[in-house]
């Protein structure tokens, strides 16, 4: 079927919204990643979780809380703001920078697990790696994400993935968390059929 001519525009279609993870799913996924971190790091010794703002920060705190309930270890948590390391600073109006909070023990010689909500182009993670480089010298760096939506533009992969969501570039993955947005949910927005 051909589209109607421009002279008779169809009413604007609402973008489709599909819930991928509901609140209970999000908490199960966080639990699983916490278990995987414990398994892969042999009990999370010498491990530091660094959340990338905005939503990576509460995710990192949740992971640390779950890890301490499962195995009774306290994993240091921090926040790593990557604004000043972005490769698109000059394409937008000046961005406000957020706080960077490192755990008291620092990151030198530690295993750093970067935590973010969505892994997409990989550019945020590249910026985070650059930022880490200026702060200290971790023994190794891993990446944990709640959602991997594909479309990487850099050779970067995650070590821990909550959920792989195949998407088209026209679609948007929207993550909300109780700490920042009032409720836990992962939605797929857009992808209006032609």
């Amino acid at each position: 079927m051909a589209c109607p001519p421009a002279a008779h525009p169809s009413p604007p279609r609402q973008p489709t919204v599909k819930v991928i993870l509901a609140a209970a799913d999000v908490s199960r996924v966080v639990d699983r990643i916490a278990h995987q971190i414990l398994e892969k790091t042999q009990g999370a010794a010498d491990t530091v979780l660094l959340g990338i703002p905005t939503r990576g920060a509460p995710l990192a705190r949740r992971l640390a809380a779950r890890i301490s309930t499962f195995e009774d270890v306290d994993v240091p948590v921090g926040v790593l703001d990557i604004t000043l390391y972005r490769d698109d600073l000059r394409r937008h109006a000046t961005r406000a920078i957020g706080p960077t909070e490192l755990p008291p023990g620092g990151i030198d010689g530690k295993r750093v697990v970067l935590v973010d909500d969505v892994l997409f182009s990989g550019r945020t993670v590249r910026a985070a790696l650059d930022a880490l480089n200026d702060i200290g010298r971790p023994a190794s760096v891993q990446l944990a994400v709640l959602v991997d939506r594909g479309h990487r533009q850099l050779p970067i992969r995650a070590d821990y993935v909550g959920k792989n969501i195949p998407t088209s570039l026209a679609e948007n993955v929207k993550v909300t968390l109780a700490e920042t947005d009032g409720a836990d949910e992962v939605k797929l927005v857009g992808g209006v059929p032609a």
């Binding site: 000043l84 600073l89 000059r90 109006a93 000046t94 920078i97 957020g98 706080p99 200026d134 702060i135």
Partner: protein, 308 residues
């Protein structure tokens, strides 16, 4: 975000607060192993200084370098300016070299405003004549906020040669915007007539330092510029120091939490005694360190994004 920083009046409360918050994050870089951020890589900052200055120029240079900008220092001595080049021709030269920001200090009030019309980049006023010095006001506000926890409701006394002080002017404008109350103190000859009406409706004027001291949170001492001492604004240096200098007994009359500030360079024994300058309540050295963070914040917010 604003394009130039020429006056304390360019900043509304939200922008000023954003600069102070950004400066607080920039300050953490000073404690890191690598004291450098890549935010201004490939940008050029020109320090254009027509007047002698050590701390302001070095402070701007350190700030720009910590943000990875390229810095060109230009001082009027030993340049074409000594051969008679005008400000406009110098500006066009800098423009041709691709300066993204020009930090300018000039003995003529208003020179940075003129410069802003001639160059495409951002202009930062680093002190013009007896007019304004906005980044000094920002670093003073930053220092007050980090020592006392707030700015709104603070009572700040600015003491000394208000007439010739660009620091005082910028501070009155910025502090009023941020909700602090300012009292200007000095001999009547050194306080401009109608200054509170012209600058900030809320600012008070007093000629009696001792009466003001017990009620303030911050005392900011201004430098008595040596060249003024012979201009008969006051009878003698000793009389000035006796009436308007901050000494030990006056320090003890301040409220317990109050801090003492000075933009530097100090005349020890004139407006401030060594006992006061070196006391733990003086923030003079802190102000210098804070200056770098605040100027990093200003340069980042002016140049960091695409604000054109």
């Amino acid at each position: 975000m604003i394009r130039h920083l020429l006056s304390g009046a360019d900043l509304d409360a939200a922008t000023a607060t954003q600069i102070l918050d950004t400066a607080a994050e920039m300050a953490t870089v000073a404690g890191r192993e690598v004291k450098k951020l890549p935010a201004l890589r490939g940008r050029t900052v020109v320090n254009l200084f027509y007047e002698d200055s050590t701390r302001t120029r070095i402070s701007f240079e350190a700030a720009a370098k910590r943000l990875s900008a390229d810095v060109i220092n230009f001082s009027a001595k030993g340049s074409s300016v000594a051969k008679g080049e005008s400000l406009k021709d110098t500006a066009l030269t800098l423009q041709a070299m691709g300066a993204d920001a020009v930090v300018v200090r000039h003995p003529a009030s208003g020179a940075p405003h003129r410069l802003a019309d001639w160059v495409d980049g951002s202009v930062v006023n680093a002190g013009d004549g007896t007019h304004e010095h906005p980044t000094q006001a920002l670093l003073d506000a930053y220092t007050m906020r980090s020592r006392l926890g707030r700015l709104a409701g603070l009572h700040v006394a600015i003491v000394g040669d208000v007439l010739h002080s660009r620091v005082a002017r910028s501070n009155v404008l910025l502090l009023s915007t941020l909700g602090a109350k300012v009292t200007l103190v000095g001999p009547p000859t050194l306080i401009p007539v109608d200054i509170s009406a012209a600058l900030a409706p809320g600012a008070d004027v007093s000629y009696d330092l001792d009466a003001v001291l017990p009620g303030v949170d911050v005392v900011m001492m201004l430098r008595v510029q040596r060249e003024r001492m012979n201009d008969s604004y006051f009878p003698s240096a000793r009389e000035y120091a006796r009436r308007y200098g901050l000494d030990g007994p006056r320090l003890r009359r301040l409220p317990e939490h109050a801090i003492v500030m000075h933009p530097g360079p100090m005349n020890r024994g004139m407006e401030i005694t060594p006992e006061v300058a070196d006391s733990p309540r003086s923030t003079i050295v802190e102000q210098v360190a804070n200056g770098v963070s605040v100027r990093m914040a200003v340069l980042y917010l002016l140049l960091g994004g695409n604000n054109r």
